[in-house]
């Protein structure tokens, strides 16, 4: 497996994200229909389609550049709560990795942590509030742990993706305290948080891109031994 991930991986992650969001568009709309306003899937689909278009037009040369492109595009195309939150996440991840062309496991874990911290800085949610943070925080914890244990980047992301998915599932019984679902109070329980569900999809896309890179599949790239 590769020791680092590069711009090709970052771009593959974003393109995978667009594909997976398009595929799950209706599902995310339906989750948001139940406890929100039925736009989450539509908003992300519009945003990530725009990201893909931007990627086609430009050629970001570093992972950081990819993240910033995503940040700016999501910020201006998604709207709603998810737009600024995901936008900030990518922005902070981009700032964290800076100009690096190769991301090793510790940097990757730091980038994920910075992304999560960005979401918290803007949205002030805590774990248990039934938001995307319930997917991000376990993912960051798992990634950090894996990185500290010496895992490669693909494994770090795999750990994050698995934890994010569990985190998303953990929102099912919760009563929302942030975002639109909080207006429902008790009636929000029994439904998965759409932002947590989409966050899990995005982190799954990251892990899959890394795995594909490690296997030398597609254009997605990983460098090192």
């Amino acid at each position: 497996m590769a020791d680092t991930l590069n711009a090709a991986w970052a771009e593959a992650w974003l393109r995978n994200s667009a594909a997976v969001v398009a595929e799950h568009r209706k599902e995310l709309i339906d989750l948001d229909r139940a406890i929100g306003d039925a736009d989450h899937g539509e908003n992300l689909d519009r945003g990530f389609s725009a990201v893909v278009q931007k990627l086609d037009e430009s050629n970001p040369e570093t992972p950081g550049a990819c993240f910033k492109l995503a940040a700016m595009t999501l910020m201006s195309k998604v709207g709603g709560a998810a737009g600024p939150l995901f936008g900030t996440a990518y922005l902070r991840a981009g700032t964290t990795v800076g100009e690096s062309t190769e991301l090793d496991s510790p940097l990757l874990a730091q980038a994920l942590a910075a992304a999560r911290d960005g979401i918290v800085a803007r949205g002030k949610a805590e774990v248990g509030d039934k938001t995307m943070i319930d997917a991000w925080t376990p993912a960051v914890d798992a990634a950090t742990e894996a990185a500290e244990a010496g895992a490669g980047p693909a494994d770090v992301l795999e750990a994050a993706a698995v934890a994010a998915q569990q985190g998303a599932e953990s929102t099912d019984p919760l009563v929302a305290r942030k975002g639109r679902a909080s207006y429902l109070a008790e009636r929000s329980a029994g439904h998965r948080d759409p932002g947590a569900a989409s966050s899990a999809l995005l982190l799954r896309a990251a892990a899959d891109a890394a795995a594909a890179a490690g296997n030398g599949a597609g254009e997605a790239g990983a460098s090192g031994a």
Binding site: I29, D30, R33, I35, G36, D37, A38, D39, E42, N43, R46, M75, S76, K77, V78, G79, G80, A81, A82, G83, P84, L85, R122, G123, A176, R177, K178, G179, R180, S182, Y183, L184, A185, R187
Partner: protein, 333 residues
């Protein structure tokens, strides 16, 4: 889903385009990014007023652009707050050198996007103040959550702050009167039917043939609880009680009573609701000084209504009565 639309993806652009065509005398439409400004913007020396939010609440906000009310409206996708790249140029376009006030309904998305835009506009030299509207008493325990939503009160804030801007108040004064309106208005709504977001294609919630949803917002969110259908007067009592409990009106207080339709409610039903609300207020010794009845802040084709009560002071009455010329609210001009 049956709607008089062409394509769910083009609903907002086509609405804005049609609105611009129908109201050429009032507004100029910018297509990309989407925002509308009053034709004489920027008005030199006047504080600019900008509001915006998800589409689907028409006539809010585009219908309130014009003399005496908003200088710009920024429409997002249906039920989705607009983005900073729309809000920033709209803010700049209406800055007549006296600064700009953003009127923002309290939803996480709106708050975050307007916050970012305000920061950036400010950085580019336009002083921005924000009035956050959060009048919906259906949201309880609001301290521990995203807080109360902005609903019907928004229209009243826009009218009164707009009149203050028009008479030449400075940016802090306009924001202050906007905040004062917000502090004195409470609202609550009911849905008899849901609405269908065009891109979702299915109703946002399902209601039984004899159920109504109490405490709904304006985005097709389910409300706080569901009850069996009952006569209008009983439903009005259920809306008015939390509003009045929270507002704590003194005996002899003067109010504006606003019965708002959610988009699919016949005017007759709004007047039936108004009738009872007015009677209840009269019984409580409250004087209804001003009234507003109609579809002013909607949730697509939802059937239902909201009731807002605004405690008035003399200045608010004067500003409410001040001339206004917009597509949806007009008098004295």
């Amino acid at each position: 889903m049956k709607k008089l639309i062409n394509d769910p993806k083009s609903v907002v652009t086509e609405t804005v385009e049609g609105f611009g065509l129908a109201h050429q005398d009032l507004v100029t439409v910018n297509t990309d990014p989407a925002y509308l400004v009053r034709n004489d913007a920027p008005v030199q020396g006047k504080v600019g007023l900008v509001s915006g939010g998800g589409s689907g609440h028409e006539p809010l906000h585009a219908g309130y652009v014009g003399k005496g009310m908003l200088d710009a409206a920024v429409p997002g996708a249906v039920f989705t707050s607009p983005t900073p790249d729309q809000i920033i140029p709209a803010t700049q376009a209406v800055d007549g050198g006296a600064g700009v006030v953003h009127i923002v309904k309290n939803y996480t998305g709106d708050v975050l996007n307007f916050e970012t835009a305000a920061e950036m506009a400010d950085a580019e030299g336009v002083p921005v103040r924000t009035v956050l509207v959060n009048d919906d008493v259906a949201v309880e325990d609001s301290l521990f959550t995203a807080g109360r939503r902005g609903v019907g009160g928004t229209v009243l804030v826009e009218k009164i702050a707009g009149a203050a801007a028009e008479r030449g108040d400075d940016v802090d004064a306009v924001a202050a009167i906007g905040n004062r309106v917000n502090e004195n208005v409470r609202s609550m709504g009911v849905a008899l039917s849901s609405c269908t977001v065009p891109h979702a294609g299915e109703p946002s919630f399902d209601l039984g043939d004899d159920e109504v949803e109490i405490g709904i917002g304006i985005h097709g969110e389910p409300g706080r609880h569901r009850i069996p259908m009952e006569p209008a007067d009983g439903i009005v009592d259920r809306l008015l009680e939390p509003v009045l409990n929270d507002l704590k009106l003194d005996d002899g207080a003067k109010v504006l009573l606003f019965v708002n339709g959610m988009g699919g409610t016949p005017a007759s039903e709004l007047y039936i609701a108004y009738r009872h609300a007015a009677k209840v207020l009269a019984q409580k010794g409250v004087t209804v000084e001003r009234s507003l009845v109609g579809n002013y802040i909607t949730a697509l084709e939802m059937q239902g209504a909201s009731i807002s009560v605004l405690r008035l002071d003399d200045e608010m009455v004067e500003l409410w009565d001040a001339p206004v010329h917009t597509a949806a609210l007009r008098w004295g001009l």
